[in-house]
């Protein structure tokens, strides 16, 4: 194979060339360049084509998907190695799937994945680090000897996020509705933001959307518009985070079998983040 991990890491830009929506109406923009370090959200109603858009990216669409879109990497058609050799693939995708079908123990699954992605496991303890990362996001911890098929929806998501970040460690990460799995979302965002990558979040969550540099809005399967987060929205972001923290606090109490009171709503320090 001609390419290696280090070379695929030299990615500076992904381009989406317009396709069309479900009824054939063209996307609202001719091209969109996503640059290294960009944090992007994909928003839109249920069924508007958000998953389809990130699938286009992961498949390196070249007009051969139902949307007719084309994906370029660093301005060029991606080489076939990206699809044929997982070790060269610069994209990690965390899908909406919340179950595994694999009849394998977690440790074996992660070791095989690391091998095919050419991630050195022995020296860097990648498998153990993946498990630690995943367990920061879940409630009930995952063990290396669990069967993949036994994991809950949230544990599955947590393991996939950790696998994408540490084992795949790709320059481009696509995440489909991370908020839906009952995992610790704020911790996930915090951990992920420690890496310089292109992040694309499909999301219904205002917190994630406002923390992004811009958001791609989908409607009827087409890209309707691209909205850059403006100054007013940036000012709003910390307030949205406070609301969100308050709700997670309530959620945690209820999960742990506690009663909630008025003081739990007031207990979130409004000044803490500003």
């Amino acid at each position: 194979m001609a390419l290696h991990r280090s070379e695929s890491a030299l990615i500076e830009e992904i381009t989406i060339l317009a396709g069309h929506g479900r009824d054939g109406t063209p996307d609202g923009i001719d091209r969109l360049d996503l640059r290294m370090g960009d944090v992007v959200s994909v928003v839109g109603r249920t069924g508007s084509g958000k998953t389809t858009l990130i699938n286009d990216i992961e498949l390196f669409a070249n007009g051969n998907t139902p949307t007719g879109r084309t994906i370029l990497i660093n301005g060029r058609t991606p080489p076939p190695e990206y699809r044929d050799d997982p070790a060269c693939n610069p994209i990690a995708l965390i899908t909406q799937h919340t179950t595994f079908l694999s009849d394998l123990p977690v440790a074996e699954f992660l070791h095989i994945h690391a091998r095919i992605r050419h991630t050195p496991v022995a020296a860097e303890g990648a498998v153990e680090r993946t498990l630690t990362f995943a367990n920061e996001l879940t409630g009930e911890p995952i063990s290396l000897s669990s069967q993949m098929t036994e994991l809950s929806g949230g544990q599955t998501r947590a393991l996939l996020i950790a696998d994408a970040t540490i084992i795949c460690d790709t320059p481009i990460v696509l995440l489909d509705e991370v908020e839906n799995a009952g995992i610790n979302r704020s911790r996930a965002l915090e951990l992920l933001r420690g890496y310089r990558k292109i992040f694309i979040f499909v999301t219904h969550d205002p917190r994630i959307a406002l923390l992004s540099d811009y958001r791609i809005v989908l409607k009827d399967g087409r890209i309707d518009q691209v909205l850059h987060t403006d100054a007013g929205e940036r000012d709003l972001a910390p307030i949205v985070c406070q609301f969100d923290d308050m709700l997670s606090h309530l959620r945690d109490l209820i999960r742990l079998g506690h009663r909630v009171t008025r003081s739990d709503v007031a207990s979130v320090d409004v000044e803490k983040r500003t």
């Binding site: 998907t65 699809r83 044929d84 899908t95 595994f100 694999s102 394998l104 994945h113 795949c168």
Partner: protein, 233 residues
């Protein structure tokens, strides 16, 4: 004429893959003929004739294993396709007997496996996988990327020389590279040979003896604690 033999266990997506292949071959100017070999029921011949207006046929293998049936009829099938003016004969076969392979030297052998079929499947299907040229993994839309890649690794471990192609056959995603492989395949010669070695011996069960226990059978038999041995004259 080019010969493509597409095998795989039931409902893995062979028909769905070939439905993506046929129009793409036609677009490249090739005339296609289609043969389906199945044990007792198939309607792909009607489907392909209706959808693509190409010559199609089906053969029920019945008492024979489909791979053996394939060996019997393939020569005449190529002549039939030739008379119909075809440039490519696509054969879809159930490949139920996991001891032999349906592929022919000089033709393209494609095995279709599902991404959803479990991590041990690649180790279970023997020569149907290891003697193929290409393993097409269908239903990638049903699993996560990580699981798809681990499944690929399992195929490569079981069959290191086989090329893996992942597709979502419902939307024709990933079919184009497969068509390129078919276009790059040479025409078959006059004398066709089955790839690999067929399994040893004829078994007395296949010829109708129903008694349980090796003591009632002859030829190559085996006991629970022994490897196979020969019993009889």
């Amino acid at each position: 004429m080019k010969l493509v033999i597409c095998a795989g266990t039931a409902t893995t997506g062979k028909t769905a893959v070939l439905r993506g292949v046929v129009p793409r071959l036609q677009k490249r100017g090739l005339a296609v003929a289609f043969l389906k070999i199945d044990v007792q029921f198939a309607e792909e011949d009607e489907l392909f004739a209706r959808e693509f207006s190409i010559p199609t046929r089906k053969v029920y293998s019945g008492e024979l294993c489909p791979d053996h049936c394939n060996v019997m009829v393939l020569g005449e099938a190529l002549q039939w396709a030739e008379r119909g003016g075809a440039d490519v004969l696509l054969v879809e076969t159930a490949g139920l007997c996991l001891r032999c392979s349906p592929y022919v030297d000089g033709g393209l052998g494609i095995v279709v496996v599902e991404a959803t079929s479990g991590m041990n499947l690649p180790r279970k299907i023997g020569p149907m996988l290891s003697l193929a040229d290409i393993a097409v993994v269908t239903k990638i839309d049903r699993v996560s990327q990580a699981e798809r890649e681990v499944f690929r690794a399992r195929i490569q471990d079981a069959a290191p020389t086989v090329r893996v192609r992942e597709v979502n056959a419902l939307y024709g995603i990933g079919i184009d590279p497969l068509v390129d492989h078919i276009l790059a395949t040479a025409d078959v010669g006059d004398k066709l040979l089955l790839r690999g070695n067929p399994p040893v011996g004829t078994c007395t069960i296949c010829v109708g003896k129903k008694e349980i226990g090796w003591q009632s059978h002859f030829g190559v038999v085996r006991a629970l604690d022994n490897q196979t041995f020969y019993r009889g004259e």
